[in-house]
Symmetry: C2
Subunit: 229 residues, 2 copies
């Protein structure tokens, strides 16, 4: 009667169409397929992804619950635009939650983890110098979540992911140039140092600085955009 999840490893859960539609839509949002303000409808999603209306509706409901999509009217959901206040709020939450995940994830990290993270870091720097911002973003996510994932805290991880999704969906049209920079590279290097010294606090501090740097950049971008419009 009692059965729990597998301990670790590939989550080979039988996903219904609704879950697949959710993943598909989420991917599109993160990749910036729709600009902020774009209207998302059940039937459009259904046809676009080739599913029926029910899975599409499930996916929309879930994304709305996570605030990756928002209502702009009683029957209209759109890709959200983050206000300055909302960006601040998400950042404060990220600082606490990702600080926690970084600290716990740093504990017991070994050579294999460091090697993996250095690989991500290499990809980031390469992608950055070649102007492949989308790839840099992807590897950046890989870097952060490799650390967070080590913490073995699934609820924490899921919550952090929704925060990334919120920021990603709202800023994708101007994220690349602002999300990562030389500061980001330096912060990641500091995190790696902390890992090598087996100093979770150092890792935590580096990640928090990384988040703060990104926040400044995003805030700047948001101000510029609101002036232009």
């Amino acid at each position: 009667m009692e059965e729990s999840e597998g301990l670790v490893g590939g989550s080979s859960k039988v996903m219904g169409l609704g879950d697949r539609a959710y993943e598909d839509l989420k991917e599109k949002l993160v990749r910036g397929a729709y600009p902020p303000g774009h209207k998302i409808t059940v039937r459009a999603v259904a046809e676009e992804l080739g599913y029926g209306t029910t899975p599409a509706r499930d996916a929309l409901n879930r994304l709305v619950a996570e605030r990756a999509l928002v209502f702009s009217g009683p029957k209209t959901v759109v890709v959200p635009t983050l206000s300055l206040a909302e960006l601040y709020e998400v950042t404060q939450m990220r600082l606490r939650l990702e600080g926690l995940a970084a600290e716990k994830g740093a504990i017991g990290a070994g050579a294999a983890d460091i090697a993996q993270l250095e690989a991500f870091q290499g990809e980031i720097e390469a992608a950055l110098t070649e102007g492949r911002y989308a790839d840099a973003l992807w590897s950046n996510k890989g870097f952060h979540f490799h650390i967070y994932g080590r913490a073995q805290m699934p609820m924490l991880l899921a919550t952090i992911e929704t925060l990334w999704l919120r920021v990603g969906a709202a800023f994708n049209d101007l994220y690349p140039e602002f999300a990562i920079s030389k500061y980001g590279i330096q912060n990641h290097r500091a995190a790696l140092e902390g890992l090598r010294h087996k100093d979770p606090q150092e890792v935590k501090a580096a990640i928090e600085t990384d988040i703060r740097d990104g926040y400044r950049r995003l805030r700047q971008a948001l101000s510029d955009r609101s002036l232009k419009k």
Copy 2:
């Protein structure tokens, strides 16, 4: 997550049946209508609440997404039982998130807020001495969320609420005796002191201590229960 009533800017949203079913079920869970492990089915919820299967399904999906309900098999959702590890994880998240909310909420709190909080505190102590644990729990929630609500951070508030829901649903059968005690009373008093001194850090510290005390109590209860079974 539009709740009963917001302090400010509460644009009354037209709730569909799905939202109402969600609220109803959530209420039942928090109030401990179902013991941990109890199986929840779409059709049972539909009939019990008097809605069709679609709203019931929506409510279940949402609760599962929030982890207030969990899968125990591919097609079976049950009221969750928190493991020791999960309780620890939730507590760590609560410390960071509620610490943040307490700190921000304490800023600019005035006499009206303190009066309201003292009212809650009075209800808690009265309910506690009279053995009305459910009422004490309710007022306790009122106390905490009055502070958190002042922070004007809706996403943060919604996230904290899901954490309370998780703990509440899993521990309702033994929560009362353990959730609140003389320590809780003292912690709340310390928070009030901090509010009077206009010292957000003091409020934050008091709330964090309150969470830690509750954690110890819950952990103890969990150990006792696993021994008995």
